[in-house]
Amino acid sequence: MLLTDVPRRASGVVGRTVDDEAVLIHPQQGKVRVLNSVGARVWELADGRRTVAELAAVIAGEYEVSLAQAESDALRFCTDLFGRGLLTLEL
């Protein structure tokens, strides 16, 4: 995955925010995943319109983290969710 990629929440995945965190269910796989508050925010921002870089910029603005760190973390996190089938990429 690249910073210029545009992630989107995978269709069919059920997500619910609970106390700033998020629970994601992939019904077809029977998998459950819990995201912390930053992860939940990334999930929320992955709407198929923002690039990973744009998404990281939002995170850097909202949390006390540098842009470089936010980009690195967002890239790793989105790649992980993509690998689990929780995110897709807009082409």
Binding site: R16, V18, E21, V23, P27, Q28, G30, V32, R33, V34
Partner: protein, 258 residues
């Protein structure tokens, strides 16, 4: 197994759960069983939702569950009809419970005085061990050691015993009784005993993972997630680290713990 012997076995196992004649049952089940020679209890049945009905289909099973009509049917062909029926009943109870605002949970329920503790965890987590230890120490009455039914009421969620147990060594004196859930605990085997809080999201996910049958139906996932969230909001959930003795009771509220 001949039909009278099977009927006797089923009556012995489930007779205590039949509702009184004057009450409408939550579900009526038509069973047709063809016993076969041989051994084996492995089933490979797939559950799908088709319209308002659930279909359970496999080499040994042809089942249908219609929660709206409160009816179910099973055609079973195999070497162990009693276990086939038990398997189907677990599926039926999970679905009927969900459609009646409740939830069947992979968990053990222990009632001590006015408190009822729900211990959740999948196979191997220690549910049956906790029940056996508590029983041996005279700490509590077990409502179940594997599957427990939760139903909402005004003051919270009530746990009901079921006939679906793992261990055979504990007398099932509490299987038809119930208790208002005081707390929910995720069991963790450890060499120390302590309880630690769980975040709401993790607790919701844990309960979702321990809602058998219905968590395997994709169409139910959004509603089930909401149901699990509601339950943990009411009852909370903590991780209960325990070792193989009844000492974990010391950290449960009202039993020596906070």
């Amino acid at each position: 197994m001949d039909p009278p012997a099977l009927a006797e076995q089923l009556t012995g196992r489930y007779g205590a759960f039949l509702c009184a004649d004057e009450r409408e049952p939550d579900c009526s089940i038509d069973l047709a069983v063809e016993p076969e020679e041989g051994r084996g209890t492995a089933f490979d049945a797939k559950l799908i939702l088709s319209g308002d009905r659930y279909l359970l289909d496999g080499p040994r099973f042809h089942g249908m569950i219609d929660p709206c009509q409160k009816r179910a049917k099973l055609r079973f062909r195999g070497p162990d009809p009693a276990w086939g029926i038990e398997y189907f009943l677990r599926v039926v109870v999970a679905i009927i419970a969900y459609h009646n605002d409740g939830l069947l949970v992979h968990g053990a329920a222990l009632r001590a005085g006015a408190a009822t503790f729900l211990l959740v965890g999948q196979s191997g987590s220690g549910k049956s061990t906790a029940v056996a230890l508590s029983h041996a120490a005279g700490k509590a009455v077990a409502l179940g050691d594997d599957l427990v039914l939760l139903r909402p009421e005004r003051d919270g969620w009530r746990a009901y015993g079921t006939p679906f147990w793992n261990i055979q060594t504990v007398e099932r004196q509490g299987q038809t009784s119930d208790g208002l859930v005081t707390g929910i605990y995720k069991l963790i085997k450890d060499n120390q005993i302590y309880a630690e809080p769980m975040g709401m999201a993790a607790a919701t996910a844990e309960l979702f993972a321990n809602a058998p049958v219905v968590n395997d139906v994709p169409e139910l996932a959004p509603g089930l997630l909401g149901r699990c969230r509601t339950i943990v909001q009411h009852a909370g959930m903590q991780r209960l680290h325990f070792r193989k003795d009844a000492g974990f009771w010391s950290v449960l509220p009202g039993q020596g713990g906070a």
